[in-house]
Symmetry: C2
Subunit: 316 residues, 2 copies
């Protein structure tokens, strides 16, 4: 069985032909070009699918289904993409256009959901039945997998773990609400704390390493110095782990998965982050004397988007 | 098919014989007497089961299973009650003792979970497949029902929605953590806000109605005055609805049930509470343009504990 997976982003749409075992046989991409609006983007995506299938040495007739991970929300009821903020889309018929152009069933879901599905099928959480992927990037994305299927809820609006409020009446979030988890535990939050440090303490190691240039602060710079034992960055790191564990603890208390899988830029800190989260998480769950979720790092990296999208069309 | 349901509390254990349709054929209770410790309590519970079955005109042989709702947590791994804070129990073999005494399979689960199961089987949420019961009492209890079964998670520690942190580093909670939802949206929180009002404004309508006696503040007093249009209590009520909707919004964003069922003392405010929550909830969900959970009031009242416990042993 062969599938097409599409990882749609604001910059490019990555397209791959994926087999039943999660192997990408062939992949390519096209520029998204969001300024062109929806129709030409959908047409380019379909054309890229045809090209990648051709390059893989297969034919469209061999493809069982096409899956698309979008940086937004699909409306289950209408079949339209409800919104993709970064692409400026509201209620666009992506599923219908691709289906018409390719003559193959098309499935669309949120990109973080899709990545969770990939990790669950072939990655870090492949041996457990329920897992939550937590991608620590610009925001916090997430996907809940239960018994190898996405749990997106009764109306398809669940799994938005980054927008769980952990600090009511706290910091303004892009979503229009306040105090969302991602305002405290995303890579962006880590960067903000790094910049605040540089402003408060211009002689600190971070400022010195980045030559006082706040615009150069990224998660890696802060995490690297924390690893090296710099007291200021270690303090930021500990605060960050506190914020991260508050949200993970909430997910244990409410949902109780077998495993958390940490992905996204911050997870590149590897064992340094993992060890800290594992050591702290027990302090944030309601019943620390009972078993609770293991924490692991994502293993599929950037390919999770294509692989997981492809798996949207896989039948049990 | 007949079942026994036991609703164990710190004051009494209520025991009922329940049929397949959720009807309580006969019920009785025994004093818990927590000062006696575990063994005599378990023995009295078993004896009350025998008595109630006899009074129902049936025999133990006709009982398929016994279910117990406990004010604490059952350890799935060991089969022991991990803890019941109000009863002072830690790791006690309740399941084993009752099973030995009665010769019938025994199931034990958290009391709020059990009530959620009852509402889902025969109450407010009987026509939907996923629902979350939110009991607004001394704390906030909760239970998640998915496809007519309890979702208690991979380790049985999920569904503790009252201990979802919504105000990190906020008010101290009995559980040892800070900023738990129940510190803001339980009946206890409403009472605290009422007392604060009386202290800050001794001439307010609440103080006048309760003759300045803070100890007489209960949820009903505050809610009644809010219903009557008293500006001070209405302000408390609106704050309370804000806190309540933050948690409900989180549960939509993470879990996305078909329905929330509101129970417990605060829910006695009825349509006044329901209308306010329904009007506000859209302001707290990530995707208000998409459908999200309906909100209803619990319908089974105090019997939910016995009925739901009985249903723990029901096979599909």
């Amino acid at each position: 069985m062969l599938y097409i997976g599409i990882d749609l982003g604001a910059t490019s749409a990555k397209v791959g032909v994926v087999d039943e075992s999660g192997r990408i046989l062939c992949k390519s991409s096209c520029k998204t070009g969001i300024e062109r609006g929806f129709e030409p983007i959908a047409a380019d995506m379909a054309e890229t699918c045809r090209r990648v299938v051709r390059e893989s040495g297969h034919t469209l007739e061999e493809i069982v289904a096409v899956g698309v991970g979008i940086p937004g929300e699909q409306n289950r009821k209408t079949g339209l993409v409800a919104f993709c903020n970064n692409l400026g889309w509201v209620d666009v018929p992506l599923m219908e256009r691709l289906q018409t152009a390719l003559g193959i069933p098309v499935y669309v879901d949120n990109d973080a959901n899709v990545a969770a599905l990939a990790e669950s099928a072939f990655g870090a959480s492949k041996d457990v039945s329920t897992s939550i992927l937590v991608t620590l990037g610009t925001g916090i994305g997430g996907g809940i997998v239960q018994n190898r299927r996405l749990h997106t809820g009764a109306h398809g609006v669940g799994g938005e773990i980054g927008h769980m409020v952990v600090a009511m009446d706290g910091e303004d979030c892009n979503c229009g609400h306040r105090g969302c988890w991602e305002k405290y535990a995303s890579a962006t939050a880590l960067i903000r704390m790094g910049r605040e440090l540089m402003r408060a303490k211009p002689g600190c190691a971070l400022a010195s390493r980045l030559e006082g240039d706040e615009s150069r602060v990224d998660a890696k710079a802060v995490l690297d110095l924390a690893k090296e034992g710099d007291a200021d960055c270690l303090k930021i790191f500990n605060t960050y782990v506190h914020y991260l564990c508050i949200g993970l603890g909430n997910l244990v208390n409410v949902y109780d998965p077998d495993m958390f899988v940490l992905g996204g830029g911050v997870a590149h800190a590897g064992a340094f982050l993992l060890d800290a989260v594992r050591a702290a998480l027990g302090n944030y769950v309601y019943c620390p004397s009972l078993s609770f979720a293991r924490v692991e790092l994502a293993t599929l990296g950037n390919d999770a988007g294509i692989i997981g999208a492809a798996m949207l069309g896989r039948k049990d």
